[in-house]
Symmetry: D2
Subunit: 402 residues, 4 copies
């Protein structure tokens, strides 16, 4: 066993850390203030494009992609700590072109896309010129059970016809968002893992309507947003289907593992940031004649936060290693475990930090309330705790079945 | 022991319940939608004034005030269940003229105000013609320790001069808000409970500046708001001081008990509402071929919510009874106990309901996300858990000191 | 609402409290030491009979029985606080002849017994001359589901024939235990609540074998014990059946509510005792230059214990009041709620007290480790949490079914 | 990063696992039954010596010792998984001569002992011929604060004189226990880490009295036991002092890290055993027509147990790796973190397993109640949670101090 990062990961950690400290941290608060002051915040501020250009110039670009040609060639266990660093900032993932759902969409295109699909969509995504969305969750059914999916993607000759309403399509509000990956039911009679298709839908296709942006705990998360999108008789050539009709689940599986690692590591970064703020507040602020750190159970809570973060990180890193060495099949329980552990851990740490900040912690003077909303959303996104606990226990119990 | 409500309380429960069911529930969702669609939501929609007129006409008005002349003459333990009913709705407290911080301010004026102060401020508050704010918490110090208060209220001849910055002044954004009660340091050398004064400040007094409205978990809570207010050499005649200089803490103590009961009972109403929504969702929504109620630990969570609400309600009602029969001195531990119990209980129940609603629970399609933000704020407002746990344990440990 | 105890309850509280303080507390530690030092601890020490005689002489006897002739005529809500007082001591319940399972058995005989059954068994039980057991739980099936019961009570002419193995028959080891109430399946084809019978079995009946005493978290709880009992072709006249064959469930229901109240209140007494010990230790013991009370989160834990006990007590008292005023049918959810709340609350408080006592808390130098074992057993006895959460949620969800 | 065990560790894992499965598991239940049936259980049953001989013959002996000559030369991170395997069984640690406190004592002698001390005590300990105790904790002071220690080890010419009372001296009841390491105050005026001495005390030295064995949650843990030992003017030559007077703390520090790893890994093994039993019970036992696994939240609890164990193990293994690569100085926070995490995790898992076993889980028919008592003791032994949370938070807060 060796708990040290590889030399390559360590080097990237230094470079990404320095870039965040010198380029992003100094400008991020102003970015948020400027955006919040706009009447229309659904825009990309110039500072973002400047930072992207700098990051690209330094080779800190598309680090998430295991491919050596277009990405950095990093294994999951090597990219994971970089995702953690990026997660401390609300804009860093975009700056390094490592933002969800683009990362997952790029991986899908890289693994399953046709050359034409790659040329049209992957190339500008990798260049950070456009952005993308992923349309899966639906408002009218319990989407935690994927077989509930009601939207359809019906083959009609050499076309595919999409119908249905999706929501929580993250990034759909972004001004650069040009394409969505839509998932729908193609053949209800096929094997349950061969019924669905994934289709690349240019957002300007007739029949596609981006509706309202959904507030998440009161936040619209402009300029990305989480939108409602209706598809009404949207017709596309069959070439828009990724890997061909009926392969939607297979593709979804492929993006599952790494995406989970990325999300979780970013959340761990956010939790570290919250713990840092908590520690600073606990030493700076005085009540009843003592720094908050010396009052009641505050030190115990700080210790528990430290421990919870470290345990969560180890679990995610070991899951990343399992993915790298055993593939998704060999890491099914772990990939569900981290989905249960990390959002709950982050919520606990962030809430503790808010409590130490008093009223200020609930405002936007600190990034804590936004962090809480983000972590809460991730407890539901990509399956609620209960679904993942179900996976973990099924695998566990199977060990002892006759 | 008798756990039945008095005949009088039971009768009011029926009447308030029916008013909410027939007058408020049918119009509340439209109210919120209409308000949310406005460019400037810092207004009172006509429906509110119509509802207020109806409530007043039916005698469901100022029920919180124990005084028989201006209020309903109800004891705390009798008003408490009415506050719970009102808490299920975001507008009911205002409709019945039972909204914080007006209730506390009216009580203060009723108990400690001069005749002139009553004529000028209490009369229109009781009539629901104006609203008021309470300026206590400060941004630059840990306000959980009241002795940290930095704002000043200095006597200068027959005037009092106010300086300082307050925030989280709830209701200060309301278009009808005309007056604030300001608390500040008058005499740093007096006994620690005789140093502060409470002053009635018309909001149009020179030197008073209402600044930004603070977002609380992303919400501005228009049209009431939680504002930042600066007081710069605000000069008022000494007659504006309530009960005379140096009596601020004494007055604050007086409003403490009943206010805590009201807040807590409203939160219990909110938790009941959340549990109702959770139960409806659990029976309506289907995943993996079963209603959510029949999946995993959902029934256990619903049972735990039922139990937690019932336990919290009993604790608040018994505290109200203690206040009624033994006074604040005889209920000091209890008044702190409910402050610890109820917000935490409500957060747990609301969060469970959100989880059962999936993504929808985080949006404003259901009142759950707003309820969560409100309950979280009440875990901090009026002292964080830790301060109240300190009170409870001090009283407990004292029993065994030599 | 009135949270004050009735005059009658208050008077008994004073008298029982004084008896415990002056008669029981001074001798209890010696009683335990003496018993522990015996090679055969399955005996009644003389001090117990002396205390019983004193309690009887003072009229502090059979207080649990609502009947005014044989008991004190107290309502559940009046007896409940007395049970709490008794629960602080391991021997008080026996001293006042208010010990389980005798109390439940006496109630059953009082309500359902024939005159002959009463003369033979109720009279000496009320006199404290004999003791009794209740044989329901079985080792080979999940007894949380009563329909799993495998033991049989088959009518054969004018006899009833018992077969099966029971365990966790509390009190069966007591030297004065002369009779057991056995529950078994009589008619598998009857309605599911009319299949079982309850039978009075003298322990010296041929075919009855009291087997090993079961250790519960390492304790045998001599001289009462929790035993395994086998019934092999035990033949008794039909007159031994309580209320006639097939009425077992009906009778079980009758003893359910009050028994639950008694158990829970005694546990609350035990939790109060643990909190008292925790407070004393926290003020007496010094580490790192401070009394333990002033270290870390100890005060918060003491506050939480105080709050948890008070909430639990209020829930049990309101349940007792509901039983008194609405009967078991009107208190079904509540009777399950207290079964979930109280043992868990007690375990938390006792564990906190143990932690404050360090190693000593785990030994028998303090009553804490024994209290923990007792409370843990009560989390399982009479149905585990999960069964009762099921009852509570079923009743809750039913409110919203179409 | 590499989460795979080294080839050497993997090979030992196979061999130790097979030995336990084929040699220990089949005889362990009989061993416990036989011991429990004895009037005097303070004996070593022959099966233990037979198993020890077999283990030694197979080279599965003293694996804990990093020294290649007397031990297996394993790093902490390599021995850790072996300790986990051993922890599943109550007798395996002794069988492989890897039992506490002998392991710690052997390490101390190996690192700090004189040649004479090694010849006299280390040699027979390594051979498994004698056993040893460690006398540190005291009944009359809060031993969580080591500076409270009241026992004395005073130099008098060429002798050292010991006085004081120790308790929770684990292993002192073992018939083969021949020597104890005693820690006492030598020079109260020295630097606080140079005041104490560790002394090797043959148990037959005049003035040493082994008193009562302490029940821990009702268990005496024969034949090892946790005893009270008084030292009254015990005189020993100065050669009995380990490394010379005043070096007690330094030595204690040295045994700290590895000992913590061993304890924690054994507890993780115990938790795994409990989870296995829980899974088996959940699939075998039926209630309400379903296996327990399919009732309520049982699957969620099983998933949570799986996750908690895996997180705890990763934390301990990474701590072991830090000890190996950075030494104790570089792992101070981690060594405290695992002390907080592991016992609490184990208690939760074992308690869940007990709950699934119903009444049977509390008896000695399953190893769960004993496991619970053992884990609870380890939450206190070697410092309660609160002390270790204090260490973790101090290190955390220091990062942000100016």
């Amino acid at each position: 066993m060796d708990f040290a990062h590889s030399a390559r990961a360590t080097e990237y950690l230094d470079r990404v850390g320095e870039f965040i400290a010198t380029e992003i941290d100094p400008v991020e608060p102003d970015h948020h203030r400027e955006l919040a002051a706009l009447d229309d915040p659904w825009v990309v501020l110039p500072v973002i494009e400047e930072l992207k250009a700098k990051a690209k110039a330094k080779g800190l670009w598309n680090l998430f992609l295991p491919d050596t040609e277009h990405g950095a060639g990093l294994k999951n266990v090597e990219y994971a700590p970089l995702a953690e660093l990026m997660g401390r900032s609300a804009i860093a993932p975009e700056v390094f072109n490592c933002n969800a759902p683009d990362t997952g969409n790029m991986e899908v295109l890289h693994m399953f896309g046709s050359q034409e699909q790659k040329d049209r969509w992957l190339t500008p995504l990798l260049a950070g010129e456009i952005r993308s969305a992923f349309c899966m969750t639906e408002p009218d059914v319990a989407s935690s059970d994927a077989t509930n999916m009601a939207a359809t993607a019906v083959v009609d000759g050499d076309e595919i016809v999409l119908n249905g309403t999706k929501w929580f399509s993250t990034g759909i509000g972004h001004p650069n968002c040009k394409v969505a990956i839509f998932m729908g039911l193609t053949d209800p009679d096929a094997h349950k893992y061969a019924r669905h298709s994934m289709v690349l839908v240019p957002l300007d296709t007739p029949g596609v309507t981006v509706g309202r942006m959904l507030p998440v705990f009161g936040r619209l998360d402009a300029p990305s947003g989480h939108g409602e999108v209706t598809f009404t008789d949207v017709r596309l050539p069959l070439e828009a289907v990724i890997a061909g009709p009926g392969r939607g689940f297979e593709i979804a599986q492929g993006r599952l593992g790494p995406g989970r690692i990325h999300h979780c590591m970013r959340l761990i970064g956010l939790a570290e940031k919250a713990l840092e703020l908590a520690c600073r507040r606990a030493t700076d602020r005085v009540a009843f004649g003592k720094p908050l750190a010396n009052l009641g159970g505050n030190r115990e809570r700080i210790a528990n936060a430290r421990i919870a973060i470290d345990q969560a990180r180890l679990l995610v890193l070991s899951t990343a290693w399992k993915l790298d060495t055993h593939g998704l099949r060999g890491a099914l329980s772990e990939v569900s475990q981290i989905k249960v552990v990390v959002p709950n851990m982050a919520l606990g740490v962030i809430d503790m930090a808010i409590q130490l900040h008093g009223g200020a912690g609930m405002t936007d003077d600190f990034p804590l309330a936004a962090a809480y909303a983000g972590a809460r959303a991730l407890r539901l996104a990509d399956g609620p705790d209960e679904v993942h606990q179900g996976v973990v226990s099924r695998i566990e119990l199977k060990k002892y079945l006759p």
